[in-house]
């Protein structure tokens, strides 16, 4: 069981930045809001560590833009949104993921590979 969790953790770690960019694509969001969006799509960060360092890296790399704004009745929050560079990286990431997923599916026998005669 621990091995399965560890493998899932490793797999998620490689694509979590793309997932964050994807949920940001739905609209600007602050840290915990993104966590909730991910959870609503079946991705729980429990066990994967926090998203904050990853958000910091995305910000440092210029893939996201930030602004401070008041949240619903709460204190001002830092909202993250996709930068043009982030949109480009997100599209690349989706393509990479699809190619990787198809290759792994083929290797695991989950899909029948068509062999040309």
């Amino acid at each position: 069981m621990a091995d399965a969790e560890g493998r899932r953790s490793q797999l998620l770690r490689g694509v979590l930045d793309i997932c964050l960019l994807a949920v940001m694509g739905e609209g600007p969001a602050y840290g915990y809001e993104m966590t909730k969006r991910l959870r609503a799509r079946g991705l729980s960060i429990v066990g994967e560590g926090s998203i904050y360092p990853l958000l910091g890296r995305l910000e440092r790399d210029g893939l996201v833009e930030t602004r401070r704004a008041a949240s619903n009745g709460g204190p001002p929050r830092k909202y993250y949104s996709l930068s043009p560079e982030g949109e480009r990286v997100l599209e690349e990431g989706k393509t990479e993921w699809q190619a990787t997923r198809d290759a792994v599916d083929g290797a695991l026998g989950l899909v029948k590979a068509e062999v040309m005669p």
Partner: protein, 206 residues
């Protein structure tokens, strides 16, 4: 403010994160944790398993943002793989130096005893300075059966090699610790603790 956030602030202070940035990160973290708790959740819903290691979390976040202070603020200790050899080298140098001192003292004592015995047995300037005589100054270093103690060429060889080895080992140890050492670190200025660029070198708004 939760104990977790307080611990993070201490770590950011230790890492030299500028106060405005630390305040901002602490405020965001506090707001998110409070929201999760208001919804019936806990800090773990916000932080995942990082909730169990605030210092690591804080360092990771600051490092990812590139807002930690330069290495110059916290000088590094030399790595163990460099420290162990030089300690061994220094120990060898000290050993050989002590051996050389012991050798010299031992030879001086033996020479003095033999000199007194020689003078009493055959007093007169001819014995001390005449043909076949040896000045006490040189007698100290003269090797031979007439002075007693260890004798022969192996002893002579040791008498030369041990002080020489002591000098070499001491020289190498001193060279290692000096700023001209080829093993010392170079260009430590301006490197960042965290990955990537650092806040002081970017010049952009942050």
């Amino acid at each position: 403010m939760s104990e977790f956030v307080e611990e993070c602030r201490r770590e950011w202070r230790r890492l030299g994160v500028p106060d405005p940035i630390a305040n901002e990160m602490a405020a965001d973290l506090t707001a998110d944790i409070e929201e999760a708790e208001a919804e019936g959740g806990s800090a773990e819903d916000v932080l995942g398993n990082s909730v169990f290691d605030p210092r690591r979390f804080a360092a990771s976040w600051a490092g990812a943002r590139g807002v930690t202070a330069p290495v110059l603020a916290l000088p590094d200790r030399p790595p163990l793989r460099r420290t162990v050899p030089v300690i061994a080298l220094t120990a060898v140098a000290v050993f050989f130096a002590l051996a050389a001192i012991a050798l010299l003292i031992g030879r001086r004592s033996a020479s003095a005893a033999v000199s007194v015995r020689a003078m009493l047995g055959n007093p007169g300037p001819s014995r001390l300075f005449g043909p076949g005589g040896v000045s006490p100054v040189f007698r100290t270093f003269r090797i031979g059966p007439q002075f007693g103690g260890p004798t022969g060429w192996p002893f002579a060889l040791l008498a030369v090699l041990i002080p020489f080895a002591a000098l070499v080992a001491l020289g190498l140890a001193a060279l290692y610790w000096s700023r001209w050492s080829p093993w010392s670190r170079r260009g430590s200025q301006g490197t960042a603790r965290g990955p990537g660029r650092t806040w002081w070198s970017r010049g952009s708004s942050r």
